[in-house]
């Protein structure tokens, strides 16, 4: 039985699609069989980020409408044989699919794969409801900005209301130099508000921009810090006991020192 994970955030542009693609690729590299579902109907991106745009024959809406079988619509990744993409439709909108149809679709794939990862659209409307309907657990992506954290908080509330209990945070695009100077929210600031457990921290890294534009994934680049962070996150999805990257440890240390001093004063 596949584990079904939804990647969501509320706010747009915080890295849901990049996170989905990279976690998926890292899990596949680890030998797991993975299906990525792009639930962002009408504004599909995951295919572009993965460089599979030209290979789309059938999409999510066509599967739901019964025009093809789910497996027919899966696109095999260029690099990893056990990584598959179900692309969103570009010509329809979010209302073309219902939560019940998503549950059915995911159910029909669940037996044959280890992980099904759903890339959720921004917002909290129909598209969000569709994306979370079949999920067992959720990854909430946030950036260290107040607006992103506000939206993430709202999303966590909605996920809890939908009875999804395993909700983890990926703090994306963190800049240790700025957090150290106190000019960016720290991991602790964010977890203070969100009060959910942390799956990982991803540094702001230009290799993400470069790889995404080329239709490649950062986890395949050995020199990419973000890639390493996503590999760690994938390992933590499979097995809880994987240590955090150095950058979060560093940050924790500085925060602790700051706390120590402020207590004395």
């Amino acid at each position: 039985m596949a584990e079904v994970i939804v990647v969501t955030s509320g706010k747009g542009g915080v890295g849901k699609t990049t996170t989905t693609a990279n976690i998926g690729a890292a899990l596949a590299a680890d030998g797991k069989s993975v299906v990525l579902i792009d639930a962002d109907i009408g504004l599909r991106n995951l295919d572009v980020v993965m460089g599979l745009e030209n290979r789309i024959v059938y999409d999510l809406v066509q599967v739901v409408e019964g025009i093809c079988r789910p497996k027919q619509a899966l696109i095999r990744d260029k690099r990893y044989d056990n990584l598959n993409l179900l692309a969103a439709a570009q010509t329809k909108d979010k209302n073309a699919v219902s939560p019940e149809q998503m549950v059915k679709l995911v159910g029909s794939l669940a037996d044959d794969y280890d992980y099904i990862i759903i890339d959720c659209p921004a917002g909290i409307e129909q598209g969000f409801q569709n994306a979370i309907a079949a999920a067992h657990r959720a990854i909430v992506v946030a950036t260290p900005e107040v607006s992103s954290v506000r939206d993430a908080d709202r999303i966590v509330g909605l996920l809890e209301a939908a009875n999804i209990k395993d909700i983890r945070l990926v703090l994306n695009r963190i800049r240790p130099d700025l957090t150290r100077r106190g000019e960016m929210l720290t991991l602790e600031d964010v977890t203070d508000v969100l009060a959910i457990s942390v799956l990982g921290v991803v540094p702001d890294d230009e290799t993400i921009v470069m790889t995404t534009n080329r239709g490649e994934v950062a986890v395949a680049e050995s020199g990419s810090k973000a890639g390493a962070a996503f590999r760690n996150i994938a390992q933590r999805i499979v097995n809880e006991n994987v240590p955090m990257l150095q950058i979060d440890l560093e940050e924790g240390f500085f925060k602790r020192m700051k706390k120590k001093f402020s207590k004395k004063g």
Binding site: R150, D153, R154, V156, G157, L158, E160, A161, A162, D192, V193, A195
Partner: protein
């Protein structure tokens, strides 16, 4: 007795879930709800629980209307009302069906109220968790938060001027006690924010002070 599925009761882990038919009009729902509560006899007698309305989107006035039906037809204490998604645009005017006895029953909620979530209670509220920015708490009694208050709290919604609002980390956007309201346009002062503090009403104005004095 007609078989009508416009209103269905379900037991949930947090109380009673009332499933409303999305397609039914509101008057019909009112009627069926009234019938069904009557039909339930003493089932609800003396019960004290929360109610969640699901299925149909309700206006705040409609929610109050349905709660009044519960109050009219059953000896029933509603501790609080929540909607299925946690998205309640809850009453500007607090729920105050005159006939509900003022139970002063304390509501303990061990959870973080997140942006967009609203908690309404007849009596005092104790929250073991945070009230985040964008969340709202309405209580006829005091509001005590063992955590951070970053959202909005209204204590003494039916005019109790002795109600207080306290929190371990006190940083609300604005507060209301009885009919008196205060906004923190410039944010809450540091000395209040960093120590357990409480707000109280005196001479028609809200004051905020550290709990330790």
């Amino acid at each position: 007795m007609t078989k009508d599925n416009a209103v269905i009761f379900k037991g949930g882990k947090n109380g009673i879930i009332v499933l409303l038919d999305e397609t039914a009009d509101f008057e019909h729902i009112e009627q069926v709800l009234r019938q069904k509560i009557r039909g339930a006899g003493n089932f609800f007698a003396g019960a004290s629980t929360s109610i969640t309305f699901k299925g149909k989107e309700l206006l705040p006035e409609e929610t109050i209307q349905l709660i009044k039906i519960f109050d009219d037809e059953a000896d029933f204490n509603i501790t609080f009302v929540e909607d299925s998604t946690g998205v309640v645009s809850m009453p500007q005017t607090p729920i105050k069906p005159e006939k509900i006895p003022h139970t002063e029953k304390v509501l303990y909620k061990k959870a973080t109220l997140r942006g967009g979530q609203v908690l309404v209670h007849n009596g005092p509220v104790v929250i073991l968790g945070d009230v985040n920015a964008g969340a709202e708490v309405f209580a006829t009694g005091s509001v005590m938060i063992f955590g951070s208050l970053r959202g909005f709290a209204h204590a003494g919604t039916d005019g109790d001027k002795t109600a207080v609002i306290c929190a371990i980390s006190f940083q609300p956007t604005h507060l209301k006690i009885a009919d008196c309201e205060v906004h923190f346009y410039e944010g809450v002062p540091e000395e209040i924010k960093n120590a357990p503090s409480y707000a109280f009403l005196e001479d028609g104005a809200i004051f905020v002070d550290n709990i330790s004095g």
